[in-house]
Every structure is written in structure tokens, then in C-alpha cells.
Symmetry: C2
Subunit: 346 residues, 2 copies
């Protein structure tokens, strides 16, 4: 790795934009602490167009154009007529940062982007959970064979370092089970219902506040939580599973009566993600579950999240992320970039 690192961004949504703002803010730090200049040389957005410049894209301009017009300007001298795959192939960047929109059916097109990047000799940082939930083992092997890194800290709990917690700070431990609250939309909806709001109104409130998509089915049917459960099984417990293999029940059938019955038992209903070993095989489920009010899990409010990991040698360790914003997602990607710098400069 030279003292210059070049990035190709696949996707330019909210997380990608926040990451670019953070990069601009951290340029001095990166140069001073790591003697590294980071340049984004390609950006391929689905709806915003593509930018390409081997010398380095003017990120301030790109951010401003998207903020004002929702897409890159036709006057932008770095505008390019490239698909995402074309950008990866043509960019000659050292690192693909995969930020494209998740397709929950099969993890595509992100998987294809990552395959192509590894094929081109690039390292990969993905904030897209699809590839890790659907195809981690194969992609990791591909990366290992190419001597490249596949980093994915942002995939579960934004920048909260749940994967690195196990990998870097619990040496010699095997994860035997985990339990988490990992989907903020359903957590918010269930919390609103506790205050007496009907399910439909709570969904609309989540949409109004920007927590839920126009089509909330990925969240309320538990697909997002299942994808995260699958990713955790694959990475932390050496699994080779996909989201449809996760036992899954969403929150659509939770009625006000259910919520009130839980309250009578001094409990709350939370959408729990769980992983465990069954005859040595990693298994997972996503299920609305009763949690006692004096339990740690019941205090996880709104967009906060928690992951509790049980290991053979160290017992139970929990990590809680409180009230994250998009900046925490940006940090997750940035922390992978710093990890890459540390790993490749040795």
C-alpha cells in the first residue's frame, strides 16, 4: 500500500455522503497520523449519476450538488457515463466501498460488485449487509485467496464495533450464542405502541421521522433483523446461512392487546434476534419476545441497539449503542478504512 489510498464508492446515499463529509474532516488527521492521502476516484450512484477522476473527485462539490439537486450536475467536469460495475472495473481504485441499496431477496447487486472488486485486486469495505448475510463464507475465501481484506463493521449496529469486539478483543474465545435488538424501526414502533398508539399510526410516525421506508415491510416483517442475524451467525459463529434460513416472525401481528398484556406482566415486547448452536450447527431466529422491565434489554429505546454475546471463556458481554445518527454509520466505514491502513502498512 502506497501513501495514497484510492476509493471507489458504489452508492451515494445518506451513509456514503456522511462518510465523504467525515473523510473531508479527517484529511489532516489521516495525513498526520498515518501519512496517508485518501482520494475517492470513482462514485457510482444509482439515481445520482457517476463521477470519475483518477486524480481524485472534488467531494465538496459532489456533496453540494446532491444536496441541492438530488444528483450530480451535468456541468460537473468529473461526470462520467458509467454503471456501478463499469466504475469498479475502470476505476483502478485500491478499495471498493460498497454502499449500494440492499436487495433482501439475494444480496445482489452488492455481491457481484464485491466479486468484481476482488477480481480487480481491490480490498473491500462493505456497509451493505446483503453480501455478509447471503454469501460471507465464499466472499471471505475469495478475499483470502487474493490476499485482500473484506471488512464489514457497519453491517450490524452501525459503527459500534460488534465484529471487532469478538475478533480483536476476545482472543481465544468461541461465541456460543448471541441475543440482540438490532432493528431500530420495529423497536421504535413497539415503543410507540406502549404509549397507546395503534400499530398503523406508529408505522406512519416512524415514516414521518425517517426511521421507516415508504414500504416498511423489510423492517416490520423482520427481514432486516434476519439479515443481521444471518451476518452475525456467518461471521461470529462460522456459519454458512442465508436470511431465509432464519426462523422469522415480524411485528405486524402484534396487537394493542398483546402490548397491554405484556405490560400487565411488567414486561415489554421486543423484536429479539438470537443465534445459538444446535448439534454444533449455528441456528438463528427473529421473534417478538417478552422482556422483563428490569432487564437490560427493556431499556433499549427508540433507535438504540444492543448485542449480547456469550462465549466459552469470557461469559456474557453486551454492547449497547445509544441513539446513533448517520454519523455513526459513517464512522463504521471510516473505522474499516483505518483498520485497512493499519493492516496493510505492517
Amino acid at each position: 500500500m502506497t501513501n495514497r489510498i484510492t476509493l471507489c464508492l458504489a452508492g451515494f446515499g445518506n451513509a456514503a455522503q456522511a462518510f465523504c463529509r467525515l473523510l473531508l474532516q479527517q484529511q489532516q488527521y489521516l495525513y498526520k497520523m498515518h501519512q496517508v492521502k485518501v482520494d475517492v476516484t470513482a462514485i457510482a450512484g444509482r439515481s445520482k449519476g457517476a463521477l470519475f477522476d483518477p486524480v481524485g473527485i472534488d467531494l465538496s462539490r459532489a456533496l453540494e450538488e446532491v444536496a441541492h439537486h438530488g444528483m450530480f450536475s451535468s456541468n460537473n467536469p468529473q461526470l462520467a457515463s458509467l454503471t456501478t460495475l463499469g466504475s469498479i472495473q475502470r476505476s483502478h481504485a485500491q478499495v471498493l466501498v460498497e454502499l449500494s441499496t440492499l436487495s433482501i431477496e439475494n444480496g445482489q447487486p452488492a455481491i457481484q460488485h464485491i466479486e468484481e472488486a476482488l477480481c480487480q485486486g481491490m480490498h473491500v469495505i462493505t456497509a451493505n449487509k446483503g453480501p455478509i448475510a447471503w454469501d460471507f463464507r465464499r466472499l471471505k475465501e475469495l478475499a483470502d485467496q487474493s490476499g485482500k481484506w473484506l471488512l464489514h463493521e457497519t453491517v450490524v449496529m452501525d459503527g459500534a464495533p460488534v465484529f471487532n469486539l469478538v475478533k480483536e478483543t476476545l482472543p481465544g474465545c468461541s461465541v456460543t450464542s448471541f441475543k440482540g435488538i438490532l432493528n431500530s424501526t420495529t423497536n421504535f414502533i413497539l415503543e410507540e405502541m406502549e404509549t397507546g398508539m395503534a400499530y398503523e399510526d406508529a408505522v406512519r410516525e416512524a415514516q414521518r421521522r425517517g426511521f421507516a421506508e415508504a414500504d416498511p415491510s423489510l423492517d416490520v416483517e423482520g427481514w432486516d433483523a434476519a439479515a443481521k442475524t444471518s451476518a452475525l451467525l456467518n461471521v461470529l459463529m462460522n456459519g454458512n446461512v442465508t436470511p431465509p434460513e432464519i426462523l422469522r416472525e415480524g411485528i405486524m401481528k402484534i396487537s394493542m392487546e398483546d402490548v397491554k398484556a405484556a405490560q400487565k406482566k411488567n414486561c415489554k415486547i421486543k423484536l429479539l434476534c438470537e443465534g445459538w448452536l444446535e448439534n454444533g450447527q449455528p441456528r438463528g431466529r427473529v421473534l417478538p419476545s417478552l422482556v422483563e422491565k428490569n432487564d437490560l434489554f427493556s431499556t433499549i429505546d427508540a433507535t438504540s441497539s444492543i448485542l449480547s454475546v456469550t462465549t466459552d471463556l469470557m461469559g456474557e458481554i453486551c454492547m449497547v449503542e445509544r441513539h446513533p445518527e448517520i454519523e455513526q454509520t459513517a464512522y463504521g466505514i471510516y473505522s474499516d478504512l483505518l483498520t485497512l491502513i493499519r493492516k496493510t502498512s505492517k
Copy 2:
């Protein structure tokens, strides 16, 4: 570092014994995964006597003798007439594992043990919080100058990786503040008082269960919590403070009326450890504080503990250790040993 690592243990109390049991259990793993044979070549206990053998001490025998007689047997062929300092000087071990009894007044004799070990060219793993709370900066500089490692994960929250969380998994982040419940004895006593038990009875119950010492003053006066706060300030926030510089109030003055008044406000009283920056300088305090019942901190029960760290780039991350046993302390020391193996084999 060769494929053999030799350890000198200063202290042979509960944590040291649990660590030796874990070492025996992990021998195969260490050899298979890291091609390393770990031998303890010296043990210096304060009341149990000393063992010394360059070939390696028979740990099973040592553990059995102490379990049955409270000290090493006079028949033990590895018995030696050595002080702790003498053991460190004579052992020629590669690593000192500092496990001696904490003196809260000044961090001695552990500081002297560590100085001597570094002077002898040894790496140091300390589970004793004294040196980190009292003299971290100087000892770290001493270690850096000698090109040796000074590791201390066990000092706060047993084996829960609070120091490595920041060091290894939050790259580029600066810690701006922290808040924790870090002393289990006081946490247990306050919890018993919530059930209506008088302070004195709660202290006796803690002693009966083995959470509190015969002289509980280190815990109930907040000294243990202050030492941990000082250690966190020194390591995570680049401080250079000592326990007496921590604003400190224990729980001796907490009355049943205080506990009931808190309950009326839907709160609990918890002994909080806090660190923050004041005009750029790290400051700390230990104070019984009101915590709302629906807050994460109020669910930290009995011997569980929590540390919440706020950083510039990643917001607030909390780590919770639930219901640790002595095995978790042993794991903390073992994880430092694995870190040492990883760092020195590169």
C-alpha cells in the same frame, strides 16, 4: 520471542489460581493455534510461599497444595526461599504477571515489581489496578523505552475488554467522557438496601457471600471505584492522575431514607464513576447518584458492571459485563497473554 514463553507470577490468590487452571486447560489450544508452550517458572505468594523451577512449575500440584493446605507444601521439590522481588530478579522469565495484593495508599509493592521486571527486560501483564491507577504514564514510558509491553485489561471490569475496546476497535476516536458502575460490592449493598435491608446487614451479607473483604472500607468508601476511575482516565484519556485526585464520596452515609426517597422518584441510587474533560484536563469523580429506573444503568444488578464511553466520532458506546465469576478475571489475564503472543510474533 521463541516458541516457549515463561511466566513469573507475583501473587497466588484466587485470580492467580483461576488463571493457572485456565492455562492448564488451554495448553493444547496454545500449542495448536500459536505453536507456543507456556511455562510458569516462578510463583511468589505473600502467604503461600514461593516456587521456582526454570524447567516449569507443576501447576496441578501447586493448585492442589494450596487448595488443601492454604500454602505450598514443604515437600514440594520446587519450593524456593525467595521474596517476590527476588523471584522477579532470579526467574529470568519473559513475562511478569503482577497479581499481588493492592495497596490503595500508593500502588505498592506492585509498582516496584513492574519497575524491576521492565528493568530485567520482561514484558508485564498486571491484573493489579494500583500501578495503572497510580503511575501509568511513567511505567508506560519505561516499557516503551525498553521495547516491552505493559498490558492491563483485567484492571477494570475483569476480562471485559474495556481498554482494548477503545484501543483496538475505535481507531481514530478520542474519548471525551465516560460513566460506569465499576464496584460490585457497593452495587450489591445498595441493591440489598432496596429490598429493605439495613446498611450494616447488607455489608455483612456481602461479606458472607464473598463480595466484600473483612474490612470493607476500600469498597464502601469508594477507593476501589476511584482507583478504577483513575486508571480509565490515565489510559483512555491520556491522564496523569492518582486516586486521591478523584472527587470521591462512598456509600457509608446512604440511609434507608435516601433509598426510599429515590424509589419514590422512580430512581435507584448507584455509585457512579465518571470521567470528563475540564479545560482540556481529564477529571474524575465517584459519587452515589440517582439513576432513573428505565435507564440502562439501573438494570446493572449485583456483581454486573457497565462502562459507557463517549467519543468524538462514534458517540456513546456501552459495554456491560453480566454476572462475572473469578473465571472472567482469569480470562482477562489470559487475553493479555494472547495479545502479547500476537504482538510479539509479528
